[in-house]
Symmetry: C2
Subunit: 406 residues, 2 copies
């Protein structure tokens, strides 16, 4: 088998952990597999580099930031190759220019365009473990780029696709994907399998195990992902295409997002183009809107509510104050102490009554629902932040997710 | 003018010094010159990386060491570009792969083969300051190499040659090249000019201002060097070809090398092939021999003495003990507390009596000479280490080098 293994910064933060990773890789290598390892920068080293740069130039050119940050992964891959060599296994480290991992030129947030597999395949044929820098790329001019958030996961999945790897293992500090955050719901079960779509909904809803960008890429190229714990031998969670054989779960997971804020514009004229004006103005300021709720028009006016990430509140309120006048609204109202609880399951698409069961569980727990939003495989509710954990536990219990063994 | 400026690690060790370098470069840039800057890694960062590697694998593969160490310069060039940007000057950092600086594959001690000037010239035409990583290269396979000791000086000179630069300024922490180490001879004068050959003799004899490898390269390609202080505006020392216009100094400098050890093999048979046996055996162990002295044969036997760097003493004695038997020598003798004092001057080649004047100065100071070695423009004497500084001062005075203004 050809296995791509990705380890994050905390997994290579010091000598001991580097050797832990080296040993895990070598085990599979000695079992006869071809191993490609993708690494992030060691521990906090990326933050240290950012601090160094900010001290020199708080608005440093992005091209130069990427040139700087890319050194972090180059340090970890070369040290890993040294660790493997000391264990008697030939290994070779490669940076993004050497692979090459070609991206566009959007520095600090570049997108992968193509990957050269020749060099890696040649090294694998020579029975070497190949260790590749995550998070970084190179544009056509040969300049270093970085992939932005979730970058190393994306590197691993893209490499797995380009190399036609049998599996891409994403190592993290948890045992896999859970039905809910175990810190909130101690009874949460680890899932054995989950579909790309379910994982996508969970990833974008605050379950921080995998970045949704890498899941999208895995889905697009059919790369089988396994989320595993780097510190133990648990089997982890397999993320793959719904192959029809997989029993569709009514609910596979519950995600809690406490970073949501709600904004409402009250008493705008009930006429065409109002929603467009609002969301176009927000989009122009790069403010991402999540849930949207529009009241039924009454007395010729209506209310529009939406949620945003709390980091955007100031900007969004500024936009809304300007719109208030042009739209002739009564007032702008907002609330910071709200949370979004989302319930995800591929089975929802074909089973009625899932939403009703959620609402029932919340009603029985005395939790008031502010807003509701749904997709084919997801139901999200906006509730008081103080109710969020209780809501997750109630839903978890209602769907009997405890002790699940899927 | 196209000016290549090289700054060492201590010149970019912190924020303040980085801005000092940035400002110096920008001054010349604003005066209309094209500026290419070559930087070493910040302060002790290379030592820190080496320590990191040794902790993982004391005999790390050289390829991986080079991959690791090359990150040091990439950090300093990107930070420098950020500093210049914050001062309103467009700058672009380039690593060895991006230039490219092509070397052979002798990791940790690679030799430059060719340099691509296209990218740099294009950036200069766009009126950018170009900042290049010193010390590193890339082989044909795209793997990172490093140039070994004096690497950044070599990078600067090679770039100056490839770009047909008008001058290559090597910034250091002294004002230029002195007639002797000012810590030993406080009256030492700074030289205004010196020939490549004089500089080569001084460089290889322990005057640590410039590495002889970079001087050799400068001589080969006729690159005019200027050694300057990064912390002040002194004019520095120009190193260039003897153009016939330059007044030839009888003595341009005195170098002291306290790292020398002497080994003697006593009472070997006076027959052909003895010297060959000895120095061939040492060469095979990569031991560099410096001065060699062979006594006139007497009673059918002779003595051979030579000096080596003190780091090689153990290895050299091992070789000699083996040879002692095969050559039938009486004994092996060695001395660690010796020093080599060398007097360099292009004028020596055409002036008689320089060596005599040196010996006279030493005799007057009561210093005993153990060995003598000469070249066209150099006289070296091996003396007791405790006499070294006194010897340098005596010779300095004898040739009236004080207050020199050349």
């Amino acid at each position: 088998m050809l296995i791509v293994k990705k380890f994050g910064g905390s997994s290579v933060a010091n000598r001991e952990r580097i050797f832990n990773v080296a040993n895990r890789c070598i085990e599979d290598f000695r079992a006869g597999h071809d191993i490609v390892v993708v690494l992030s920068a060691m521990g906090d080293s990326t933050d240290d580099l950012i601090a160094l740069a900010k001290d020199i130039n708080p608005s440093a050119p992005r091209r130069e930031m990427d040139m700087l940050l890319a050194t972090g992964e180059q340090v970890s891959v070369s040290l890993m190759a040294m660790a493997m060599a000391s264990l008697g296994v030939p290994a070779v480290s490669l940076n993004a220019l050497q692979v090459p991992m070609i991206t566009n030129s959007r520095y600090s947030n570049a997108q992968l365009k193509s990957i050269g597999s020749e060099r890696i395949m040649a090294e694998l044929e020579n029975r070497k473990i190949v260790i590749v820098t995550g998070f970084q790329g190179v544009n056509k001019a040969g300049d270093v780029t970085t992939l932005g958030r979730g970058g190393s996961d994306t590197t691993a999945v893209a490499l797995a696709a380009a190399l036609h790897a049998d599996v891409c293992e994403i190592f993290t500090d948890v045992n896999g994907v859970y039905t809910c955050d175990p810190r909130v719901v101690p009874e949460a079960s680890k899932l054995g399998e989950i579909t790309y779509d379910e994982m996508l909904e969970l990833a974008s809803l605050g379950a921080k195990v995998l970045h949704n960008r890498s899941v999208e890429l895995a889905k697009k190229y059919g790369v089988q992902l396994v989320v595993r714990n780097s510190m133990n031998r648990e089997e982890g969670t397999v993320v793959k295409e719904d192959d029809g054989m997989m029993e569709k779960m009514l609910v596979s997971g519950i995600a809690i997002d406490k970073d949501a804020d709600r904004i409402s514009i009250i008493g705008v004229k009930d006429q065409p183009g109002v929603a467009f004006s609002i969301f176009n103005a927000l989009a122009k300021k790069n403010i991402n809107v999540d849930m949207i709720l529009q009241s039924i028009g009454r007395d010729g006016t209506k209310d529009i509510s939406f949620t945003i990430d709390d980091g955007e509140l100031g900007n969004a309120l500024e936009v809304m104050e300007t719109l208030k006048k042009t739209l002739g609204a009564d007032k702008i109202d907002y609330e910071e102490k709200v949370a979004k609880v989302s319930v995800v399951g591929a089975g929802m698409a074909t089973h009625a009554g899932v939403a009703a069961k959620i609402f029932e569980a919340l009603y029985n727990t005395g939790i008031n629902i502010r807003m509701i939003s749904t997709s084919e495989i997801r139901v999200s509710v906006l509730i008081d932040e103080t109710d969020a954990d209780r809501a997750a536990r109630a839903i978890h219990e209602a769907f009997e997710l405890e002790g699940l063994n899927r």
